[in-house]
């Protein structure tokens, strides 16, 4: 299995290469990659919930949207430093997530997923209805941005991904990650071993919500605007889910790789016009059918067998 020193060396090389990107790629590609890094955090947060706790959250954009809008509205209303807005976005997403998860986790089977789906639609409607403070369907601009330098924006995004990735990956490999995985796999057995399954799943949901909200808020201050189409719409949610599954369930890091691949593929295939989305969807479908463990999952499994 890809573990121990080998894993760390590969990771460090990948990060070093990614950090050196601004030296040799165009500003346009850099911008695409910056967005990809934030999507990576979205997908990793989602994998913590799906891959480990075993709960399918069809509405990751509910949490992302809450974080993004909370941060943007706070910035426009009071104008505190950006990091305060971002933190506030994370906290609001977590609280919103808690409000959603406490009743939803009482339900079993597909109902949890359906509730998360409905939550996205509710948020979307709420934003449109309260257009006076949210900007409605048009969206709104924020007064502050992270930086006006594309390189610095890129590095901030990359650093954010690395830090979030380290925390989420560490958590997944910890004792808590093990308990969570057991709860997701067989909750009756986990309970019979003395674990409070609901407590652990709720905690996983909170962590997932916190990082989704933080990343959503960061994206707002990178782009300088926030709109339903960019952070709440269901098509974004679907992209995040595809990214995580593409990269490999229960790997955390695979989700980031999947997100980068998906966003880059979307850009590279842009000349195909309408066909673009079709090709990306077809590739994703093929991966899910033939490599259900995803790209990284397949790699890890291959090593484990060898």
């Amino acid at each position: 299995m890809l573990r121990g020193p080998a894993l760390w060396i590969v990771l460090l090389v990948v990060i070093a290469v990614a950090a050196a990107m601004p030296l040799w790629v165009s500003a346009y590609i850099l911008g695409v990659l910056t967005v990809a890094w934030y999507f990576g955090v979205f997908a990793m947060s989602w994998d913590l919930l799906f891959g480990f706790a075993g709960e399918v959250n069809f509405g990751p954009t509910f949490l992302i949207g809450l974080g993004a809008y909370a941060a943007a509205m706070l910035d426009n209303a009071l104008g505190p430093p950006i990091f305060v807005c971002v933190l506030a976005g994370g906290v609001v997403a977590m609280l919103g997530g808690l409000l959603l998860a406490v009743p939803a986790l009482r339900l079993s089977g597909p109902y949890f997923g359906l509730i998360t789906l409905v939550a996205v639609l509710l948020l979307q409607n709420a934003i449109v209805i309260f257009a006076s403070i949210t900007g409605g369907e048009i969206g709104m601009n924020v007064n502050d941005v992270l930086s006006i330098d594309a390189n610095i924006n890129y590095w901030i995004g990359l650093a954010f991904l690395v830090v979030c990735g380290a925390i989420l990956f560490g958590l997944s490999r910890s004792a808590i990650g093990l308990i969570l995985q057991a709860s997701g796999q067989d909750k009756i057995e986990a309970a019979a071993l003395g674990f409070n399954v609901t407590k652990h799943k709720l905690a996983a949901f909170c962590v997932s919500a916190l990082f989704s909200g933080l990343a959503g808020a960061m994206l707002v201050f990178y782009q300088g605007t926030v709109s339903v189409d960019s952070v709440v719409d269901l098509s974004i949610a679907v992209q995040i889910i595809i990214a995580a599954v593409l990269g490999g369930r229960r790997t955390i890091l695979g989700a980031a790789i999947g997100a980068a691949c998906l966003i880059l593929a979307g850009e590279l295939l842009r000349p195909l016009g309408q066909l673009n989305t079709f090709v990306v969807a077809a590739v994703a479908l093929a991966v899910i059918l033939f490599f259900p463990d995803g790209l990284l999952g397949q790699l890890l499994r291959g090593r484990a067998r060898a």
Binding site: L171, S174, L178, I188, L193, G194, K199, A203
Partner: protein
Amino acid sequence: MSGALLQVEGLHKRFGGLVAVKNIGFDIRAGEILGLIGPNGSGKSTVMKLIMGIERPDQGAVRVAGTDVAGWPAHRIARAGVGIVFQHSRPLHRQTVLENIKLALLPDSLLRLAAGAHVEARAREIAERVGLERVLHRHPPTLPFPDLRRMELAKAIARDPQVVLVDEPFAGLTAAEVATFSALIASFREQGRAVLLVDHNVKGVAAVVDRVFAMYLGEPIAEGSASEVMANETVRRVYLGGTIETHARPELDKRGGPPLLDVRDVSVLYGKAQALQGVSLHVREQEFVSVVGLNGAGKTTLFNAISGLVPYTGTIAWGGEPLRSRGPGAIARAGIVQCPENRELFGSMSVQENLELGGQHLSPAERQGQLDWLLNLFPILRERQRQAAGTLSGGEQQMLAIARALMMKPRLLILDEPTLGLAPVILEQLSNALAELRRTTRITLLLGEQNVTFALPHADRVYVLEHARFVWEGDPARFAEEAGTGYL
């Protein structure tokens, strides 16, 4: 009684209209092993779930070392000192055996990110005790079946529970492995644990247990030593029935030519568990053949192999033609219709709609004729014609399932455990219906049962299935003296 580690008193549990557990109570002292036995559907698994907190009792007390834990969530009962070895489990596939055992030792905390060093040492110690030391760093999917059972045992005792519940301790194990596991379970006695073994019959657990508690249809029927319970009149009646009048028609099997159904040397593997091992059986036109065996013996697997639902080795021929290359749909159209154990009715459709679905391929006139005949055979279904199938009682559902299978006009009807969880009065009605079928039609029947009383009276020949093999075959009249005792 003081000194009992586990005290169960007046336990009751209903599921909707079904009373699954009624007034069950027993004590287990430290260092004592109690066998809880009962035929399939008797509610013994429910009792185990009620103790563990997986199901919540409607009434009654479950005291662990004096503390009443009835109604607590499972994780708190686990921490109060109860451990369970599940029959089926889903271990963590990406973690090693050692990590799986370590999981069971982790504290239920959101803040402790790393397991302490003592956890590692303790996990190794437990692994050694159950005989897993050679496979510590392997992943569960690569382990043989007995080692997986060992790992479940290790997880269950990791927290040093005072009370250990074991569901079907020896299912799927060979004789040698059974001896090893018996010794492991017996060692709980010296460790002062109270042990509850849940199994189908006394025979399976007799060698390990101190006492046996038998239940049937949710109620207690006997308690005492293994030999006392085996000699108990009620237990004998439940498992063997009283004196059974048999009406075999041996002349049917004496006819020449190929049999209608010919199963030869069929084996089935489920993952690593051997579900059927070199089984051969034949059924001639118009014969009623019973396959008798306890739950887990392999009856359903045999029927599923015949119906083309599971892959097998060996040959199954129908009217001289091998069935292997045909799919389940083609086999059903060829005239083999199975009425499965779980009935598989369409719960929200009415009785009549369920029956009409069964007769889809018939012409309207033929369908109506068949429907009329069946409603005469099962008069209760006529009264219930417009009622949704899901709202019928268990017995009525069973009759509907059989009637629906008969709507398909099978040449061979396979009935898998029709008596599962049914009250005696319903058994009699079903029994009458079978007698009627036998007298008035040319249908051939293959019946799978653990209820001998029900299986013998209409059988022309009987096969006894035990641990994936046929151990006896012959005339139903000779069953009681030749195969009966092995059956308790």
